[in-house]
């Protein structure tokens, strides 16, 4: 492909509550076997993008662990491959990334030394499948300066946490508001942009000169009347996971056959780091209904309408309903979990009782697993 990829994976969100204490949103486990960033990475590799930079900043340990090898996404290449960029101290700069635009600007040499004519910028906290070639073709056909992927959201979505756009009949973006107080449009930006590489370098350098740091505020919104910014509307599944409710909802979507089919069975596949876990094991007493179970799990109790991530142990007589149990959780006997998200690597003692009464409860107990 004639583009390189940049994945913005440095962000944090207060809306993730305790779940973001351990990791950046892009490293959140999704759909049993994946991490959020796998979707964008897989889209990039499936779009034949050869060279991808992941820009990280907030709480990036877990994310870097996940990206410790690029081979899972077929980025183990001599030409191109996978790059991760974290903020570094240099003689001219000792700042963290103060915004999305600056995070790319601080790595502008990567852009300058590349030869691909276009850049695809995407975030790492959305669950979707996309062929970026289609967006690029559209971008070229529209003679756009920047193309923004947009989607119509249902009216009950939390639109205030997105950037909203209004387009004319030619799909040129005329209004763009970031996290609006009053929602005037239900068409939101998906945070996926296509732009010519030289154009991007020029805009970023201008931003830096003026002391501006944010890609949306200081480029998309500021230049919307000067540059030709177009919307590329999608109708396929796309969901951002950056709040507890949306994270829960996105995972639960995978219990629907059409969503599972779309992501797991239809071409192209979504890739992830392989963990070498044995098959899931169901012992006598296991009762599993309408649930997703990942490899390495051992189930002795009841699991209903739930998602067990990898290596979860469910003790005897447990009852788990409408819940998400993240990786490597040990649930002691007789535990009752309902409407919860249980944080990864936790140990829930026997006879525990957790129910999310008003909405989803995030369970973090931090018990020791082995008491010597």
């Amino acid at each position: 492909m004639r583009a390189l990829g940049i994945i913005l994976a440095g962000g944090n969100s207060k809306r993730m509550k305790e779940l973001s204490h351990k990791r950046a949103i892009s490293a959140m486990p999704v759909a049993g076997s994946y991490r959020s960033i796998d979707f964008t990475l897989s889209n990039m590799t499936n779009s034949h993008i050869q060279k991808v930079a992941v820009i990280t900043q907030y709480n990036s340990r877990s994310l870097h662990e996940h990206l410790n090898s690029s081979k899972w996404w077929d980025f183990g290449r001599k030409q191109g491959g996978l790059y991760t960029f974290t903020p570094t101290v240099t003689p001219d700069n000792s700042n963290w990334y103060r915004g999305t635009a600056e995070s790319i600007y601080q790595n502008i040499l990567f852009l300058k030394r590349s030869h691909e004519p276009y850049v695809v910028i995407a975030n790492g906290d959305c669950v979707y499948k996309m062929d970026y070639n289609k967006v690029l073709e559209y971008h070229i056909a529209k003679k756009a300066d920047i193309t923004v992927v947009v989607k119509d959201m249902p009216a009950d979505a939390e639109i205030e946490r997105y950037g909203t756009v209004k387009m004319n009949e030619d799909f040129r973006i005329e209004e763009f508001e970031e996290k609006p107080m009053v929602v005037k449009s239900t068409t939101v930006s998906c945070g996926i942009y296509v732009i010519r590489r030289r154009q991007l370098i020029e805009l970023l350098e201008k931003c830096a000169e003026e002391g501006r740091y944010d890609f949306v505020q200081d480029i998309l919104i500021r230049y919307k009347d000067v540059k030709r910014i177009y919307g590329y509307k999608i109708n396929s599944y796309w969901r951002n996971i950056a709040s507890v409710e949306d994270y829960y909802g996105t995972n639960m979507d995978f219990l629907k056959p059409e969503i599972r089919n779309y992501f797991f069975k239809q071409h192209p596949d979504v890739y992830s780091k392989v963990d070498d876990l044995p098959p899931a094991k169901y012992n006598p007493g296991a009762q599993v209904k309408n649930s997703l179970i990942s490899s390495g799990c051992i189930v002795n109790g009841t699991v209903e309408n739930s998602i067990l991530f990898k290596q979860v142990f469910v003790g005897n007589n447990c009852y788990i309903k409408n819940s998400i149990i993240l990786n490597d959780v040990y649930l002691g006997d007789n535990t009752h979990i309902e409407n919860c998200i249980v944080e990864s690597r936790d140990t829930i003692r026997a006879n525990s009782y957790h129910v999310g009464e008003n909405g989803i409860k995030v369970v973090v107990e931090k018990n020791e697993r082995y008491v010597l």
């Binding site: 596949d269 098959p279 169901y282 649930s291 490899s295 390495g296 051992i298």
Partner: protein, 422 residues
């Protein structure tokens, strides 16, 4: 300069004909095991876990599946700059070219491969056993005892010893004699077919015996070294070790994995078994399904009932279907309202609706009773079985079949239905 202390040579070229149709299109080491693994994963994982990073895999019979599975060795971390895994098929030579005619002949034809790594020791393995073993401990024993050849052996019940090659050793484990399938065994130590040779000893023996037709380790090379007076010791292994050479032992070994605490435990953090995973998504268990005492691989979808079974990756079990005591391998689809009893169903099989497997009265197999027995139903790779048919016990089906192949919708127990069709 390249130097590896010990390299492994893994014999993976045999057909394993006692596994019947399971090995009609692939070598035995490539046969699935335990839901997501293949038999060769066990020796390969043992190698890397034992610190052996140079493994030559000798292939001959139907190697395609094995080759694609091994690739460049990524799943086992055997993709190395120097060493790693190398697939070694027989090749044409300027003089007399030949296939691998015996286990030791295969190693002899690859002397050059071993020479490249300048090893002190060579480990000879076979690709058809299920076990976890630290070859490094065996090497330590080999060095300490001053052996030139060490044979791994394990104690078996004395009444079964007459089925094995038996080694007789003194109290220091120095081998004093051998017996091949003896009527009155003098020892219960069965050879596991795992050898460590000093490289010089191996090379000398292989060259000396090069003209022996069908050169075999057990029959020729080991006796040659023994007669020559090379010190030979036996390393006693006491862990789990299972030969899966017959359909019934293959079925039993799989069934042992579903015990509450299996003797062969795949869930331990220590000594992981690695495999190539093509399918990643979690498995889906539907609302009306029952799954008990079973293990299930990634990406499978269960809409029916599964009891006491080993289910591979990407398998679909339709609504109303009941599966008991069976092995169903990767990517197989079973329709709805079927009954599957004590069946071994290979990969990529498609079974229609209302099919009954293994429900009728047991009869001896009409063509190969020595292979298809123990009441098992065996379905070969990529077979298609139409809806509304019954297939009896000790029967075997392979290939694309349609309702004309089942008079009155029945394939009686003990029948063989093998069709070519792709």
């Amino acid at each position: 300069m390249i130097k590896k202390e010990m390299i492994a040579m893994l014999l993976a070229g045999g057909q394993g004909s006692r596994l019947g149709v399971l090995t009609s299109k692939m070598a035995k080491p490539a046969v699935s095991f335990g839901g997501k693994y293949r038999i060769i994963d066990f020796p390969l994982s043992n190698c890397i876990n034992s610190g052996i990073d140079t493994v030559g895999v000798l292939t001959q019979y139907q190697p395609l599946k094995l080759n694609t599975h091994i690739g460049i060795g990524i799943p086992w971390d055997l993709d190395r700059n120097i060493g790693g895994v190398t697939v070694l098929p027989p090749y044409e030579k300027s003089g007399n070219s030949e296939w691998y005619t015996g286990t030791a002949n295969a190693i002899f034809q690859n002397l050059e491969y071993m020479e490249n790594y300048n090893p002190d020791y060579v480990l000879i393995l076979s690709g058809d056993h299920i076990y976890k073993m630290d070859y490094e401990v065996m090497l330590d024993f080999h060095k300490e005892s001053g052996a030139e050849v060490t044979i791994a052996s394990m104690p078996v019940p004395i009444e079964e010893a007459s089925r094995f090659g038996i080694v007789i050793a003194d109290e220091k484990k120095k081998i004093t004699d051998f017996e091949e399938k003896p009527e009155n065994p003098r020892s219960n130590l069965a050879s596991m077919g795992i050898y460590i040779f000093n490289w010089k000893t191996l090379k000398e023996a292989l060259i000396a015996k090069a003209d022996q037709p069908a050169l075999d380790f057990g029959k020729h090379v080991i006796p040659y070294c023994f007669e020559k007076g090379a010190p030979m010791y036996t390393y006693e292994f006491n862990g789990y070790w299972k030969d899966v050479g017959t359909l019934s032992s293959y079925w039993e070994a799989n069934m042992e994995l579903i015990d509450i605490v299996p003797e062969f435990n795949l869930y331990e953090e220590y000594w992981k078994i690695y495999t190539k995973s093509d399918i990643l998504p979690p498995q889906y268990i539907a609302s009306n399904s029952v799954v008990e005492r079973s293990i299930i691989g990634e990406g499978s979808e269960i809409y029916g009932q599964v009891y006491n079974s080993v289910i591979g990756c990407g398998v679909v079990i339709g609504e109303g279907t009941v599966v008991r005591n069976s092995i169903i391998m990767n990517q197989t689809q079973v329709g709805s309202n079927c009954i599957v009893e004590k069946a071994i169903i290979d990969e990529y099989v498609q079974i229609g609706d209302n099919v009954e497997l293994g429900t009728m009265e047991e009869k001896e197999n009409d063509t190969k009773p020595g292979i298809y027995n123990h009441g098992l139903v065996t379905i070969g790779e990529k077979s298609i079985i139409p809806s509304d048919v019954k297939i009896g016990k000790n029967s075997v089906v392979s290939g694309v079949t349609d309702s004309n192949d089942y008079p009155d919708g029945i394939l009686d127990s003990g029948k063989t239905l093998i069709k070519a069709g792709e």
